[in-house]
């Protein structure tokens, strides 16, 4: 803790060091908070504590061997990073993916999205002081993890996708389990709403707090739920269709929904609740339409992508998950760069924070859903 610094003529500013280990900085992340009493003048995020050089690591891995590393970029949405990477390589190889594999990818990704939103919504409520909703959502997430473990063997870092398809097929028993999970889960969303979404204290804590206008959201490159909450009707799944998504019907929730104004914390919260419902809808359509066939296209054992570059983006749980891949024709990727939702979301905090209270910063960080490993890579 540094000494309070004297700024300006008469008022003292309290410089607080929030993090790197603080209960509400998800992961290891530091904010230098300049406060005047409870009101913040500025909060500057300092990132990099979880930089593991995953982009540099790609340069020494084979194309197939890099797949498990992509899981580590964000352990909460590993399927999306895998999907983005696989799509980037496939774009260079010009591989056709079998339809069943595309469906399985959608199933895996949407399950992952629900699991991720469980954590996000739970963390929001926990950061606002309610512990129990977090536990309920974690319990639901465990069921999804069980499903994913039965599907691909790991609970968090899945390594399920392969270049050209997926690793394992599903059978009817697993699909039945998925269906019964959906039957169980959809009423749980209602229960969650009764418990916390309509809760007056929670609404008071989030409504009209830390408003990010649509203009700002676009300029700072916010994506995903954060962008939609600000009122920009945009979803990569619908607007730049990839995989099997054109075959599904789903709504894209866009703020303002319910109480509050577009771009405030409560909207970011509501958009995510609604997205869980839409993911359930997509999963049900997947179950109805799942085609038979191969689950992996023919790709050479040692992949050598032709010279060139590609940028593939998927709608991750935290916004656009993009993978920029450069190939020099060798067997290792020449350069991989990840464009992640948390990175942009983190960069807007300094811009949004002035005038908020310390408690609001917690709400802002939680609802922007910034995850330090995804930001730092």
């Amino acid at each position: 803790m540094s000494e309070p610094t004297q700024t300006g003529a008469q008022r003292e500013e309290l410089v607080l060091n929030m993090g790197p280990h603080h209960p509400s900085t998800h992961g290891v992340l530091r904010f230098v908070v300049h406060t005047d009493g409870e009101i913040m003048r500025k909060a500057v995020p300092e990132v990099g504590y979880l930089h593991r050089g995953l982009e540099k690591l790609a340069e020494s891995q084979t194309y197939a061997g890099y797949m498990p590393f992509t899981d580590r970029i964000n352990y909460l949405e590993a399927m999306f990073t895998e999907q983005a990477y696989a799509m980037a390589v496939e774009a260079l190889l010009a591989t056709e993916i079998p339809p069943r594999a595309e469906f399985l990818r959608v199933i895996a990704c949407e399950l992952n999205r629900i699991a991720n939103h469980h954590i996000t919504l739970g963390c929001i409520t926990m950061d606002l002081g309610a512990y129990t909703p977090f536990v309920y959502l974690l319990r639901e997430r465990e069921s999804i993890n069980d499903l994913i473990e039965a599907l691909c063997g790991n609970r968090i870092t899945h390594n399920y996708l392969r270049i050209g398809g997926v690793a394992y097929d599903v059978d009817n028993i697993w699909l039945g389990q998925l269906e019964s999970y959906l039957d169980h889960f959809e009423p749980i969303i209602n229960e969650f709403e009764a418990l916390i979404v309509g809760n007056e204290i929670l609404i008071k804590r989030m409504q009209d707090i830390a408003v990010i206008s649509r203009r700002d959201a676009v300029a700072w490159g916010l994506t995903g739920p954060n962008l939609r909450a600000s009122g920009q009707d945009w979803d990569v799944r619908r607007d730049i269709p990839y995989g099997a998504y054109p075959q599904f019907e789903f709504d894209v929730p866009v703020g303002p929904l319910g109480r509050g104004q577009a771009g405030d914390c409560y909207q970011r919260f509501l958009v995510r609740v609604e997205e869980m419902r839409q993911s359930c809808r997509i999963l049900r359509q997947c179950l109805a339409k799942l085609p038979e066939g191969d689950i992996k296209a023919k790709v050479p054992k040692m992949i050598k992508a032709p010279k060139g570059e590609s940028y593939a983006s998927v709608e991750g749980a935290r916004g656009e998950m993009g993978c920029y891949l450069v190939s020099d024709g060798g067997k290792n990727p020449y350069r991989v760069k990840w464009r992640t939702g948390s990175f942009s979301a983190m960069s807007i905090i300094e811009h949004t924070s002035p005038g908020l209270m310390i408690a609001d910063l917690v709400a802002l960080v939680a609802t922007l859903d910034v995850i330090a490993p995804e930001c730092d890579r």
Binding site: P306, G308, S310, G322, Y324, R335
Partner: protein
């Protein structure tokens, strides 16, 4: 607009030759390369021209090309209004890489440029807050350069763990 049309449009508006590249087997994304002194003008045009209206800077990054002695800076652009994408590149000298900042055009570029500065060592003039972002402030070198070698230790902490498999004793079980 298609990327090729955008390239032609840019070329006409800027009144300069813009290089146009595609992947080896026409797979992946094509890209356009502008001269570094045109970089800000081209981006300004891309952002504010009503035909282009690239309001979303999707990604801004760099690639080290030691064979050419260059560092590429790549911007992936997207327009919510026109719904089209474009890949714009420029190259800077590897020895003393300097480029103008895009921070005034897209605020999102602030952090992306900090990252490029940190990991590739490109200096952006006119940047509001050019500090290292991922690595510690007193780190030596720019890790994403191809010829980068890690220092053996950082403030007395070794940067590598001995590989147990290779440094294995013959007998594991005591």
């Amino acid at each position: 607009m298609k990327p090729a049309e955008i390239q032609a449009y840019l070329q006409q508006k800027l009144d300069k030759q813009i290089e146009w590249h595609e992947g080896e087997k026409n797979t992946g994304d094509p890209w356009a390369i502008v001269e570094p002194d045109l970089w800000v003008d081209a981006c300004q045009l891309a952002r504010h021209d009503t035909e282009l209206a690239f309001d979303f800077l999707r990604n801004l990054t760099g690639t080290d090309r030691p064979d050419d002695g260059k560092i590429e800076v790549v911007a992936h652009l997207w327009s919510y209004v026109r719904r089209h994408a474009f890949v714009l590149k420029t190259t800077v000298e590897r020895e003393a890489p300097k480029l103008s900042s895009l921070a005034t055009i897209w605020p999102a570029a602030v952090w992306y440029e900090r990252e490029i500065f940190d990991l590739l060592g490109v200096e952006f003039s006119g940047h509001p807050d050019l500090r290292r972002i991922m690595m510690p402030d007193d780190w030596v070198g720019h890790p994403l350069r191809k010829d980068y070698t890690e220092q053996a230790d950082y403030r007395g902490i070794p940067t590598s763990r001995p590989g147990y498999v290779t440094a294995m004793p013959e007998k594991v079980d005591e």
